[in-house]
């Protein structure tokens, strides 16, 4: 019969065999073999499993020198130190005060030392007037009992009180009084070999095979029982995996999409190449408005011109600009030019698509309420840098309903932003050219500990909705925000362009916040 053990266990077993006594103290043994205590005990457990070894526990009343005791073990007790000073000073006789000064001892310890010198009958004391003198009175000064006993601590600072002789126990009492030792009860493990362990010859023991990989052969043949599967450092970081992953921005977009859907909004999608008509004119932006200028808008050379919708609507919008039309407005008081409205451009906001939804409502004679949203790309003719993009993503939601109010808009917005994870929301007055009343939205961002502007909102002006037959008391609520602002808060990139130029390392490592 052979027994298979790990190499480490075999070595420890060999050492145990060498021990003469019936047992060995575990902590002493780990020191002796220079093996970590835990490694030793796990090997003993291995032996136990194979019925080769075991350990018992016993309570030990342990005595050890404290810090001061250890100091005296090295330098000698105060009385011995003082004696040596006196001997080397060649004074046969010395006043107590002079001796104190000569010794440079702490006063308290000095007197303890003098006391024991007297007890040991090394010195005599005489009083001459106020002056106390001491005199050495022996020829030789051999080691005292206490000093002899102290040497026992040199090998091992932990002595088992119960194993001491009566005389030694008395010395312990003295040391205890002198506050040089501490006593405590401790559990000690004693390693033993079982009867089998004592009998087994080393030749019967073989080293256990260690493998790093569990193979199919091992599993099916059952040989896995005879091998030792090498343990891994289980807290070590794993190798980066080459996996597929959704882009963090798309993940964020999908989260927001789900919020809209959960609130009963349907997603809409409209053209990116848009006419100035839907992008500006239908939003009651006068044709000389600075926002329409070249430096803000990508106008197109090809396609050059867009077709306008049915003439009735075009005429209504023309009238709205010029004199308010039937909207009740005084209008902008200028001559509206159809050719400017036909200009093509890359849409500067998704509100152009929202207007197309109003157009559809008008065409199909849809029933209210209508709740739609869009999360889509828009374009601004800007130079790219680390905080500016020429193309970005807008989030927008609208509600068309009878007698909806600013209070309904606040209700929706608070719900929406709460679902996005913002607890504190402020809705305050704002200004947007095509909404009235208008409202700004600020949210409290815990991580930065401050309020951040997080979107705009309002009711579409009558000048915007009347040309599409949406007339009081039917009104349109709208709100919107930029996705990138939110994304930069979540992903903390130094450069906003990173969101659209795909640093692969970032994509592989970024978490979905």
């Amino acid at each position: 019969m052979t027994i298979k053990l790990e190499k480490q266990t075999i070595n420890i077993f060999k050492e145990l065999k060498k021990i003469k006594s019936n047992y060995v103290n575990a902590s002493d043994f780990s020191k002796k073999l220079n093996i970590d205590y835990i490694v030793l005990m796990s090997a003993i457990n291995d032996l136990k499993k194979n019925d080769l070894g075991d350990f018992t526990e016993k309570e030990v009343n342990q005595v050890s020198l404290n810090k001061e005791g250890i100091l005296y073990l090295e330098k000698g007790l105060p009385e011995r130190q003082l004696l040596n000073i006196l001997l080397s000073s060649n004074h046969q006789e010395l006043s107590l005060l002079d001796f104190l000064n000569l010794s440079k001892f702490d006063k308290k310890i000095f007197y303890i030392g003098i006391n024991y010198m007297k007890k040991n009958r090394w010195i005599a004391q005489s009083k001459v007037g106020e002056d106390i003198k001491i005199v050495l009175i022996q020829e030789e000064y051999p080691e005292t009992n206490i000093e002899t006993f102290l040497n026992k601590f040199r090998k091992n600072n932990n002595l088992d009180y119960l194993n001491l002789s009566l005389e030694e126990k008395k010395i312990i009492d003295i040391l205890n009084k002198r506050k040089l030792v501490k006593r405590e009860n401790k559990i000690q493990r004693q390693i033993i070999l079982t009867e089998k362990g004592k009998k087994v010859a080393l030749s019967q023991i073989k080293e256990l095979e260690q493998v790093s990989k569990l193979t199919s052969e091992m599993i099916t043949s059952g040989s896995w029982k005879d091998v030792n599967i090498k343990p891994f450092d289980i807290s070590k970081p794993g190798k980066l995996i080459q996996s597929g992953k959704i882009h963090p921005m798309i993940y964020l977009i999908n989260e927001i999409r789900e919020i809209f859907l959960s609130m009963g909004f349907t997603e809409i999608r409209g053209p990116i190449v848009e006419s100035a008509f839907f992008n500006f004119d239908a939003l009651f932006q006068p044709q000389d408005h600075p926002a329409r200028e070249l430096h803000d808008t990508f106008y197109l050379k090809n396609p050059k011109s867009a077709k306008l919708p049915q003439n009735k609507v075009v005429q209504a919008i023309k009238a709205t600009h010029e004199n308010g039309g039937d909207s009740g407005s005084i209008g902008w008081n200028y001559n509206w030019n159809e050719n400017i409205a036909k200009k093509t451009l890359l849409r500067t906001h998704t509100t152009a698509t929202t207007i197309r939804r109003l157009a559809e409502y008008y065409k199909n004679n849809d029933k209210t309420p209508i709740k739609v949203f869009s999360i889509d790309r828009v374009f601004r003719n800007e130079k790219l840098d680390k905080s500016h993009l020429a193309e970005f993503t807008q989030i927008e939601g609208i509600v068309i309903d009878e007698n909806v109010s600013l209070s309904n808009l606040i209700g929706i917005i608070v719900e929406f932003y709460k679902k996005m994870g913002f607890e504190k929301i402020i809705t305050r007055p704002g200004f947007f050219p095509y909404t009235e009343p208008s409202m700004e939205i600020s949210v409290y961002y815990d991580k930065l500990g401050k309020w951040l502007e997080m979107g705009g909102s309002g009711l579409f002006r009558p000048e915007v909705t009347y040309p599409w037959g949406i007339k009081n008391p039917t009104r349109v609520l709208a709100w919107g925000l930029g996705l990138e602002r939110l994304a930069m808060l979540k992903f903390q990139r130094a450069d906003i362009r990173d969101l659209y130029i795909n640093p692969i390392k970032w994509l592989r490592e970024e978490s979905y916040k």
Binding site: K245, H247, G264, A390, G430, P437, Y500
Partner: protein, 560 residues
């Protein structure tokens, strides 16, 4: 957005109330001002105001509204204007150049240092907020006592007169010279471009008061000794010039000066006087306002709200209607709806209820639904999703891909700010090649995909172009080849349940390696391309390993 720096101490004096920065931080937002910046040390704050409130361009203007917010002064602010006898004759020659002028006389000014600074600043602010950088409105402030009435506003030949402009070198200049050599002239010459005549303001002795919208004459320079001011505002929009004059003159009035009218005489007959500080009157339904706000305010509460925003409101002769008077410095009221917001601000946005209205069932957009389906399949196949701009560059889209530029299908941007983006993409693949170029030193394999839009010209669309959803996939590593990308396509088509409709015909496409590329067909339509990228294309993008790629038009997969 325009901004304005406010000294707390000065604002306190104007409002008549002790103000702390902390309180302002909270309070200002409710009258639609944004606190941009706080300087505790100097005790100043920087506020941002909305372009519909140019009357917020001075501390005086802000203080008026703030007094209402704090209940210190309610209703319409009053301004006294006495009638003067100064006349401004407008000649018909300005009609095609810069048709409008309005004026005011301001007497007994006694401005401290801060007020002088405000007077300078408010002109700047109004030039921007109302004047479209002087194009629509230009303001001139003059020392009245240096010139002699009556005045004339006319248009003359650019070289017919010389004068000493402000900030000149001391020598007389013609109007033509001003536009060519004077700093302000160079800056504003574009406003008078192609005009044969230039506008000019002259006094009785034909001394030049100003050359609007460019520069004043040195004659009327305002100094510490100036007692009386002459304000003239020229422009192309009568409403705008009046608004600028009203804001400027009411601000001076609030600084303690006295206002006096000027008579404007057009073509020697049509006369009117400015400044006209009479309020505009509107008749508004209380139900309309309550409905819009979702409130049920009593007439009394509503009147109080308007008074807080410094309008006056009284019961109208019509039942449940209010007569509302709008102060002359407000230029943003053009529809009854504008009063809904005024009422809400007066009532306090913070007092508005949150009312949720239920209803509607939300639905995915079929295209977004498909896009997400494709994404799920592609990440299962081990590809990382990337996102690129739809904006693109013609050279990288075509030349580097060895493709010919088909003008008839490509969007062309007329005014790109940089050549980096002069078109929109017609395929996604070149963007993925750029992504590989950008990441070429990263750990391989790099396997990426993008689901997104491309744009193609299409005369059937009313805007002349259509967007299509595409998928493009690339794999970049030492072992990348056709079989790998074909397996990816097979996996995709199997999972979509379309593999029986898909087949590939070998093609000869310069982007790909000949013999290792094909066109992907779905039934009779070509829907994409697949293959190993040509080494020349790889080198164009500085790539050192093979790339296997595909591009698919997803239009046919959309479930309707």
């Amino acid at each position: 957005m325009p901004t304005l720096e406010l000294k707390i101490e000065r604002l306190e004096k104007l409002v008549g109330k002790k103000l702390s920065i902390q309180d302002l931080q909270y309070d200002l937002q409710w009258i639609s001002l944004d606190l941009e910046d706080i300087n505790e040390e100097e005790q100043t704050v920087k506020v941002e105001y909305n372009p519909n409130r140019p009357d917020f361009s001075s501390p005086e203007g802000i203080a008026r509204t703030l007094k209402g917010y704090y209940d210190l002064e309610l209703g319409l602010p009053s301004f006294e204007v006495s009638s003067g006898n100064i006349q401004m004759y407008v000649e018909s020659s300005v009609k095609t150049v810069r048709p409008y002028i309005v004026c005011a006389v301001v007497r007994d000014i006694n401005l401290d240092e801060d007020e002088v600074a405000t007077l300078m600043n408010i002109q700047e602010q109004l030039h921007w907020a109302v004047g479209r950088d002087r194009k629509k409105v230009a303001i001139g402030v003059h020392d009245l006592d240096k010139i002699e009435a009556p005045f004339r506003y006319l248009a003359i030949k650019p070289s017919s007169i010389s004068f000493l402009p402000l900030q000149g070198d001391g020598s007389p200049m013609t109007l033509e010279d001003v536009l060519k050599y004077h700093e302000k002239g160079i800056k504003y010459a574009h406003i008078l471009k192609d005009k044969e005549l230039y506008p000019i303001l002259l006094d009785k002795k034909d001394e030049v008061i100003s050359f609007p919208p460019v520069i004043n004459g040195i004659l009327t320079t305002v100094t510490d000794d100036t007692k009386n001011l002459f304000l003239e505002i020229t422009g192309t929009d009568l409403k705008a010039v009046n608004l600028a004059l009203n804001i400027l003159s009411t601000t001076l009035y609030d600084m303690g000066a006295k206002l006096e009218t000027v008579q404007i005489v057009y073509d020697k007959q049509e006369k009117y006087t400015t400044p006209n500080l009479n309020p505009d009157k509107w008749e508004i339904s209380t139900k309309y306002i309550n409905d819009y706000l979702g409130l049920n305010l009593s007439i009394k509460e509503m009147i109080k709200s308007f008074e807080k925003i410094r309008m006056s409101a009284n019961k109208s002769s019509k039942k449940d209607y209010l007569d509302i008077l709008v102060p002359p410095f407000r230029g943003d009221i053009m529809h009854p709806v504008d009063f809904t917001e005024e009422c809400a601000i007066g009532y306090g946005y913070f007092n508005l209820p949150k009312i949720i209205r239920e209803g509607c069932i939300g639905e995915y957009h079929p295209i977004q639904k498909l896009a997400n389906k494709i994404r799920t399949i592609m990440i299962g196949a081990g590809y990382i999703e990337v996102l690129n701009f739809i904006l693109a560059n013609t050279r990288r889209q075509y030349d580097l891909m060895k493709q010919e530029y088909h003008k008839q299908e490509v969007v062309e941007i007329a005014n790109p700010i940089s050549e980096e983006y002069n078109t929109t993409r017609t395929t996604i693949l070149p963007k993925l090649m750029e992504t590989l170029l950008f990441n070429r030193s990263e750990e391989k394999p790099i396997k990426i995909f993008e689901v997104g839009d491309i744009i193609k010209l299409d005369s059937k669309e009313d805007t002349g172009a259509k967007r299509e959803l595409h998928l493009s996939v690339v794999s970049y590593h030492e072992e990348a080849d056709y079989t790998e990308i074909k397996s990816t396509l097979d996996f995709l088509m199997n999972t979509l349940g379309c593999s029986d409709k898909i087949y590939i015909k070998i093609n000869d496409n310069p982007t790909y390696l000949s013999g290792r590329s094909g066109d992907i067909y779905m039934e009779k339509n070509k829907i994409g391309e697949i293959g190993e990228i040509h080494p020349e294309v790889l080198l164009n993008f500085k790539l050192e390993f093979p790339v296997a790629a595909l591009e698919l038009d997803l239009t046919n997969f959309i479930l309707k």
